[in-house]
Amino acid sequence: MSQPAMREILSEAQRRTAEHPFAVLVWVDEAGYPMHRPGPFEVEEDGIRLRISDEPLPPDGAPVAVILSRIRPRPQGGYEGRRYWTFHGSAHRRADGVAVRPHRVSGWREDERPFLALCEGAVPQAQRYFAFLSRIHGRPIRPRLPLAGLLLRATRAPFLTATVIPVLLGAAVAFYEGSFSLPWLVLTLAAAALVHLGLNVCNDIFDALSGADAVNPSPTPFSGGSRVIQYGLLGIREMALLCAALYGGGALLGLLMVIFRAGVPLLVLGASGLLLSIAYTAPPLRLAYRGLGELAVALGFGPLMTIGAYTVQTGRIGWSPLIASVPVALLIALVLYVNEVPDRAGDAAAGKRTLAVRLSGRWRARIYGIGVAAAYLFVGIAVILRWMPPWAVAVGVTLPMAVSVGRSLARFAEQPYALIPAMATQIRLHLYAGLLLAASYLVSRWLGPGGS
């Protein structure tokens, strides 16, 4: 490391540890044990001097390390802004202490490399250690989770809001027009949820096969897949079985609704949705890799699900659920888009040409702004044209959330983990806007005559 670079690090370490009275001098003693000697210290222009002169001390010229750290526990648990440095050099014993002129520094700064990123970067090390354990213990040792947690993680079930909203919306539109059946609504939710979870698992399988998830350097709780394959929790074969079970269950329930409730229109909608979800990442279409993933998600979690739920309730297809689905479709596509921003390095490396990969610089935030503005404008125009009930304007209360996400995208596009709050906000925005939209149909039905 160059001296100017080292001086800069020393200067920063001095600032950050100003309130910490001790550095720790580390060396290997005569008995072959590591030895730690804490002491007050000063950062000098080209090194660190510990103001200690009593034994035990390292021999003059001995290789040593000096630890400076700032690890502050929070009262509510966890730590804030952890950082520690290890400066490697040789000891020089002087009358005023032990001076170390470092030639190498290592350590961790949490503000530069968030803890999640640190963990993700260490996954190959964990895989090596599991392989080592299996060898020395003579039996397979792999990471485990309780079944409920494993399924929760593998299917990414917390993201089911993407399914619940369009289904509730379709049923709300049907209710507004005078048709409603709770048991069929529950069945619709169950079928749609199974297909959605099957899509998530299918996505993980093909992203694992393409390498997109493996090369992703910055997965977050909202992006980068479930990582159950990368972590060794489940193999591809096990995921394939899970995928088949989920799709099979969804298709079976869908078939029941086709036969006993909604007939051919639902068959067409359901089959389209199923095929679209498979084609999202599976060959030969691989829509997400061709820059069509956002459109597929908008169609699937927008018109297809909304009209499908409406059809189960009413037995017919109509324009009203299609119109109701447009803002929800835009907002769910934006959920995907915002989640794609942190993944774009890994996606680009794997040839996955998402919108976030194809856009650069300011356009990443601009596209979000255009999309979310279109969603709100559509609602306004639809209300004016009486395509939606007047209460639909209530979705406008979610506008501050959209502004917050847009600002975060503009500010943190290059900092994946700083985008985590924005990803959560966008998901909540879709949820609240969808619920408000559905509620507007219910309220309008209660307050006045129905019909589109």
Partner: protein, 160 residues
């Protein structure tokens, strides 16, 4: 196993961070900040996630380690002073999934939120696959509060 000096036990029971040093293949010190756990049996316990398992390979190669408690914010150094403990480490890694859970009560006394996080371990699964490092102390160096001169040395090795 005999108990440790009172000041050392008090530090181990209260410290939220310690410096833990192992020796790599070239006999160079590698230092990690870790949370020390003490259950009163004279040994010091650490749990290391398999994610950060390089230190475990080092310990297998050379079990000589050191641990120090010096941070006045994360430990009651102002009251009990600072301490360095040299010893030998052993590893229990037969069951990374649950083999370390017996230390959860000791960990929860220091970080009350830990049981909730473990309950939701599906959110960070590999972090919660952990290995137990047990340190048998051989020599302890204790600097009393405010003291940075020669330490009080306790020799716990057999015949010491």
């Amino acid at each position: 196993m005999s108990r440790l000096p009172e000041a050392v036990e008090a530090l181990l029971e209260a410290a939220l961070v310690a410096e833990f040093t192992v020796l790599d293949g070239r006999n160079r010190p590698v230092v990690h900040p870790m949370l020390p756990l003490y259950v009163g049996d004279g040994r010091i316990y650490l749990t290391s996630s398999v994610l950060f398992s390089r230190k475990l390979f080092h310990i297998r190669r050379n079990p000589r380690v050191a641990l120090s408690i010096t941070d006045p914010v994360a430990a009651p150094v102002a009251r009990w002073g600072a301490v360095t403990i040299q010893g030998e480490a052993t590893i229990d890694d037969a069951d990374p999934h649950s083999g370390w859970l017996w230390l959860l009560p000791a960990w929860a006394r220091k970080e009350p939120d830990i049981p909730r996080l473990v309950k939701n371990r599906w959110m960070l699964p590999l972090f919660w696959e952990r290995v137990v490092i047990a340190i048998t102390p051989r020599r302890i160096f204790h600097w009393p509060p405010g003291g940075t001169g020669e330490p009080v040395v306790y020799d716990l090795s057999e015949g010491g």
